[in-house]
């Protein structure tokens, strides 16, 4: 499905723009090396959401594995990120996978016993349930990982804005990218400042409890100061003006992508309702 050719590049209104400016605007568009990258961000988001919800709705092994084999892997190959995607997805889902195995295999009541270690009894039903959850987690991690690696968040935000989502919500989403690393730096700097005033952060629980407010309060207070200054700087640049904005660049949306998006949504809801109503055949 991901191999269909995509219309050429972003749509540029060439009315009254010099060739040099048009070239500059094209350079602003994030690099999109492969056909998969050039898909419209909303399409890639719908595919990622469809894959992950589909895996949960289908349940069992066959459904999620089919999604993985027939959709995610080929798309990752087309997008030339297959290797990195696998590594990152495994890394991200490892902690939760270990917990799943420990919790479900050993605690799920079931007749067939595989083996026992001390008080814990490993049952086949437990292993089966754990297996299903693991497969679902893998689909979730790879689907979203593929989306993250092939889509610039700003491209998604601008695309949603073009479709009518208010630019202010788009701002809140896009601004998070720079805010989080800055917040991490600020928390580290504040912890250093408080340790410089004798605050002991490695001691017992009482010492650590005493360390919570001297860390949390400055982080929040300095963030609120930043909110104040950022708001004024944005207001001065007409941020508050309601109404449509002409964006410098947007990602093209091919004619066939809209039906594909709606198709995915309808398919997932269909299977979900069928499953709830019990009409869906039980596949392993």
């Amino acid at each position: 499905m991901g191999l269909v050719p995509v219309t050429p590049g972003p749509s540029l209104v060439d009315a009254g723009i010099s060739p040099a400016d048009a070239a500059l605007l094209r350079r602003l568009v994030p690099a999109m090396p492969t056909a998969w990258h050039r898909l419209n961000p909303l399409t890639k988001a719908t595919i990622a959401a469809g894959e992950s919800i589909g895996a949960f709705v289908l349940g069992g092994y066959l459904g999620p594995l089919l999604i993985l084999a027939l959709v995610i892997v080929p798309s990752a190959v087309v997008a030339r990120v297959a290797g990195r995607l696998l590594r990152v997805s495994i890394l991200v889902s490892l902690p939760i996978a270990v917990s799943v195995v420990l919790v479900t295999v050993f605690t799920r009541a079931g007749p067939t016993v595989l083996f026992t270690i001390g008080p814990f009894v490993a049952t086949l039903e437990g292993a089966d349930f754990a297996g299903q959850v693991l497969v679902r987690l893998l689909v979730l991690a790879t689907a979203l990982g593929l989306f993250g690696m092939t889509t610039e968040p700003r491209a998604l935000v601008f695309d949603l804005e073009r479709r009518g989502v208010s630019p202010r919500l788009g701002f809140a989403a896009a601004a998070t990218l720079e805010t989080i690393p800055a917040m991490a730096e600020r928390a580290a700097a504040i912890q250093a400042a408080q340790r410089a005033r004798g605050l002991d952060t490695e001691g017992g629980i009482r010492a650590r409890l005493r360390g919570v407010l001297p860390l949390v309060v400055p982080v929040v207070l300095s963030s609120l100061t930043e909110v104040e200054e950022r708001s004024l700087a944005l207001e001065v640049r007409a941020f508050g003006r309601p109404g449509h904005r002409h964006l410098l660049w947007t990602i093209g949306d091919a004619a066939w992508e809209r039906p594909v998006r709606w198709g995915i949504v309808i398919a997932v809801i269909g299977v979900g309702v069928a499953r709830l109503a019990g009409a869906w055949p039980h596949i392993p």
Partner: protein, 288 residues
């Protein structure tokens, strides 16, 4: 023309008036320096003169802000954006945080105004050229020096084509290299014909750049006149304002009974060699 008539202001949630019955006029293209001790009301005056107080911050304003004779009361901040803009100290918080290139950062204002792409691109190019930072167009806004970031912030204001710009200590957090960059940029802004109100402690930066200096104390304008006169006025030290180096040195020389003309500085406050060298022949008749 930007006018403040009989302006008093207090912040929301507070009873104390921070500005008290203050009048100030800034003609088109005029460069006015605003000086005064800390907490004399400089930042508040900048917020009121740019309309952000009360339009964005709230609080209580009596008197009125007029631009070209038109009262701005009740206007939303974005309606003021094409008339008067404000710049602040910290380059980091003046970045939108959503642009991946300097070009898109500067273009944010015109885009918010709803301009067509061609117009936005044209204005952005002009603003970058006016401040001489075309080379930074495709750099990431968060990976610049303090001085460069401040120039990008000033360009992001200039691109709104405002008739007046209010700058609250634009060079306060910069190192000497950054400060020089911003001082040069301010001269470039002045050349574009926009009226400038610049709040700054270091009077040396304002000396030679501003036609007029306004001194603020306790929320009132206590001195307002040509830069040469105000800086030479002995009362300004009482208002917590330190005169520029040339005046300090002249006074120190006079206090030692020496001729103040022994040190002559040219326009941009660099000492001129030779003229003041105390060569016995050329030395004026120093008092015995």
């Amino acid at each position: 023309m930007l006018e403040l008539r009989g302006v008093s202001y207090r912040y929301p949630g507070y009873a104390t008036q921070v500005l008290r019955d203050l009048d100030l006029t800034i003609a088109d293209g005029e460069i006015v320096g605003l000086v005064g001790a800390n907490e004399a009301g400089k930042s508040t005056l900048c917020l009121v003169a740019s309309g952000l107080a009360p339009a964005s911050i709230g609080g209580r304003l009596t008197g009125s802000l007029l631009i070209d004779g038109e009262p701005m009361t009740g206007r939303a901040p974005h309606e003021l954006a094409e008339r008067v803009v404000a710049g602040f100290q910290d380059p980091a918080t003046q970045r939108s945080g959503v642009a991946a290139t300097v070009f898109e950062e500067v273009a944010l204002g015109p885009m918010n105004l709803g301009l067509a792409v061609a117009q936005t691109v044209g204005r952005t190019r002009a603003a970058l050229a006016a401040l001489g930072i075309e080379a930074l167009a495709e750099r990431h806004p968060s990976r610049l020096s303090g001085g460069q970031s401040q120039l990008v912030a000033l360009a992001s204001l200039l691109v709104m084509r405002p008739r007046h710009m209010v700058l609250d200590e634009p060079a306060a957090r910069l190192d000497p290299a950054g400060t020089n960059l911003v001082a040069g940029a301010i001269r470039a802004l002045a050349a574009t014909g926009a009226g400038l109100l610049i709040a700054e402690h270091r009077t040396d930066l304002l000396d030679g750049l501003c036609g007029r200096i306004v001194v603020l104390d306790g929320g009132c304008v206590v001195l307002d006149g040509p830069a040469g006169e105000v800086f030479a006025d002995d009362r300004i030290e009482g208002f917590g304002v330190e005169p520029p180096a040339r005046i300090r040195l002249a006074r120190a020389l006079a206090a030692r009974g020496l001729d103040p003309a022994l040190i002559v500085l040219d326009a941009d406050a660099t000492p001129v060699r030779g003229v003041a060298s105390p060569d016995p022949a050329a030395a004026p008749s120093a008092p015995a």
